[in-house]
Amino acid sequence: MKASALVGGGLLLHFNGFSASATKGAKPLADDVPKGVPVNAFLKINPQNEVYFRVTKHEMGQGVATGLAMILAEELDVDWQKVNLEFADADLQTYQSKGGHGTGGSTTIKDMWPILQQMGAATRNMLMQTAAQHWQVDFKEINTDKGELINKKDGARLTYGEIAHKASRYKAPENLAPKASALYRIVGNPLMNKIIPDVVKGTYQYGMDVEVPGMLYALIVRCPVFRGKLKKYDASKTMAVRGVKKVLSTAKIGGISGGMPYHIREGVAVLANSFWAAKKGADQLIVEWEEGQNAKQSIEDLEAHMHQESLQESQPTGYIGNPDAFANVADINYIISAEYVYPYQLHAPMETLNCTACYTNNACEIWLGTQSPNYIAGEVNKLLGIPRENITIHLLPSGGGFGRRYYPDVAIEAIYLSKEAGGVPVKLMYTREQDFGQNMVHPYSFTRYQAGINDAKQVAAWYIKEMRTYTWGATFPYRPELPWIGYSIPNIRFDFKHIEAESLLQSCAWRAVLANGWAFGQECFLDEVAYNLKKDPYEFRKELLEEDKETDIGHSYKISTKRLRQVMDLAVSKTDWRAQKQKGKGRGLSVYPYMHGNSYCAIVAEVIVTKGNLAIERIICAVDCGKLINPDLVKSQIEGGILWGVSALLYGGVEIKKGRVLQTNFHQNKIMRHAECPQIEVYFVESDEGPYGVGELSPPAAVPAIVNAYFQATGKRIRKLPIHREGNL
């Protein structure tokens, strides 16, 4: 280890040889590339003409590292085989104007597309200028071909790598026109995800795999009840465990904070020279908690409370048409009403949360997979007083983010422990039991839907009243925002009330976030209304989407009936929708967009129910996400998203008694397994728009399609997840 002075006056540790150990087996970091020169903020090219693409966004399984590299490689015109990924350190300043590091909302490819196109085109232009100078010919005489520059006059060739070191002297004109799509060689092709060769050899490095010389392993025993406080603890047995070095309270950093609220549970940390010693030590801790009010609550209490609240009078948060339609529209003949519950959900990423940190003299260095290094820097500065410029963040890919890795809590805990332990590097890990029992979750929402039917048997008014444990959506980022409803209904009203204070767990982002609950309620209730009106659920939706229009639902994107209709028609066209219904079988439809990514999705599910057992046979999914950068990786996201929804539907939810989460590990919080996996077909609406987002597109639509199919098969309506726990089957 060696210490060197920082510009900000602080000291920062460099671990000699860290690059080698931390990236062992992965692609070498840029500095190890022999004479590789940074040609722009996103890439380096070495004399062997190998290209190193700097992954600035968090790769957590969405395939964005490869997708982004493809965009840049296309415009740059290089040999795809020679493109390597490099997981670089955070550089909050440099990348602020280049899309930043923040990753979420299915926006990565959509937002980075124009930026990387420009980067690629500009760099190619600079290399061409360099070559023109080199050959002393006019710029017009230069062309490129897969990483080589060509002198059109005499056919001479140079590789990019040979002159890359000179290219940065030139300035590229701004706003270069991107390549015509007809000329694409890389974009649009189902190429292999570049992380796979390392994954299959076991050499792809995650945060969990980082080792820093002299580090201690830490586990924190956190309060089992949300908002509980640490009263006192006895660590004498813990300290007797061989390998345990220190026991520390984390009560000081406990509490809720942040602009996008997150919660750190108070706890007691055990630091040891191995994970196993830390775990044994943690098991020996005797801790007394001030558990507080939540210790008297169960999930049933919360639901009853929400139901009570929902009966109170409320004001519209947002509306279309007449917000008092039920009272004022004269021809409303009758009202249909139903209540839907989308419960808390655990993220359960295969890689549990972790962060390795080293604090020294008002500076720190951390290693982790994070969706928002910027959020970490801000919160660490605020809570621990370390100047932002003294925070070095090494970005690693993760084994699943799903929104949970957006929050800075684990980094704050790790840095705090390293600081309190006197500057020892600390690797803080979560066990799976802690991941389930001491964590943040998808918000719980209770929603009442009402449809006002007029004399002409049309939906004249649509009311949504939602109680939710997280404000997000009604107050952020657009206001007022309606659930993402695109159907032509003249009067729509949304009354939202948050019940954060009564929540039994801290809520946070969870893949597809609010769209999960919104799609579940809307698409199932619409099915209920269709049956009530004795209309076919597809024909009924067609009526409501007939007219081409774009509705302002308070989001930056308007919602398009045309795009909804197109995905719906495409999905239905791949089934025998009109075939005679068979006993025990059901087919269900749902259509839902993901507005942050500006994409649309329709799903038809086919199920068989035999003796109360539900088998999902086939899922047909149609997608409009604009143009496809890598169709196979998009397909992969859609497949995974569907199974994400299916796990929530079959087994999700969180059971809580006396304020404690009852699920401790995967035997109690099940996720879907191989043998249960249905066939999935994915079809794309051809489009030249976009590209738009896909990571969170399919989970919301998957759940109601299956629930609607289950209704057709059994006549039973499921209004609350998960179905296995409600005794429906």
């Binding site: 062992k24 957590m60 399984g61 969405q62 189902p190 292999m192 995800n193 992380i195 796979i196 060769p197 994954v199 299959v200 050899k201 076991g202 050499t203 490095q205 995650y206 969990m208 795999d209 080792e211 392993y217 061989r242 191995s274 994970f275 196993w276 010693a277 044994k280 359960a348 990423p349 295969m350 890689e351 549990t352 890919p397 993760s398 084994g399 699943g400 799903f402 066990t431 799976r432 196979d632 990786l633 992969s636 996201q637 497949e639 995974g640 998203g641 569907i642 199974l643 994400w644 590990n665 995967f666 035997h667 996720i671 879907m672 397994r673 191989h674 043998a675 996996c677 066939q679 999935i680």
Partner: protein
């Protein structure tokens, strides 16, 4: 204690009750084998013990003895095991975290059953969880690897 991992002997001084998983990760320093649950529920920690797929998180170090351990890093010398190849051509991994375990389970299956049926693949792989939802591709890749190995041996 001396354990043998990927053909090399390692002297490890640790609690004999410590699961093999942590010996591999924190003492032998091979990080390809993953922790997912520590309870034999997810398969992320799957390695081979004398050629059989086992959950390294449930095997105490003391039970390893002379048995030969193979981890994902030792599955092939060149990274070209038929499964390592079909995993690439089928674009299987998303986050990749569960995949070492998936591949080790599949490799043990193919050893005892070189041309499994789709049903046999489903059953053999049922203990390995994937939160990203790559099951369909895993199924396809195992069958593809079986086929390519078969065509090679013919």
């Amino acid at each position: 204690m001396i354990i043998s991992v990927n053909g090399k002997a390692y002297h490890i001084e640790a609690d004999p009750q410590m699961p093999l998983l942590w010996a591999i990760r924190d003492y032998v320093k091979l990080k390809g084998t993953k922790y997912g649950c520590g309870l034999g529920q997810c398969g992320a920690c799957t390695v081979h013990m004398n050629g059989k797929a086992v959950r390294s998180c449930t095997i105490p170090l003391s039970a390893v003895g002379q048995k030969e351990i193979t981890t994902i890093e030792g599955l092939s010398t060149d990274g070209k095991h038929p499964l390592q190849q079909s995993w690439q051509s089928c674009n299987v991994p998303q986050c990749g975290f569960c995949q070492a375990g998936q591949i080790m389970t599949a490799a043990a299956l193919l050893k005892t059953n070189p041309s499994p049926s789709e049903e046999e693949v489903k059953e053999a792989m049922n203990g390995n969880l994937c939160r990203c939802g790559t099951y369909l591709r895993i199924r396809k890749a195992v069958l593809q690897a079986a086929q390519s190995a078969e065509s090679k041996s013919n």
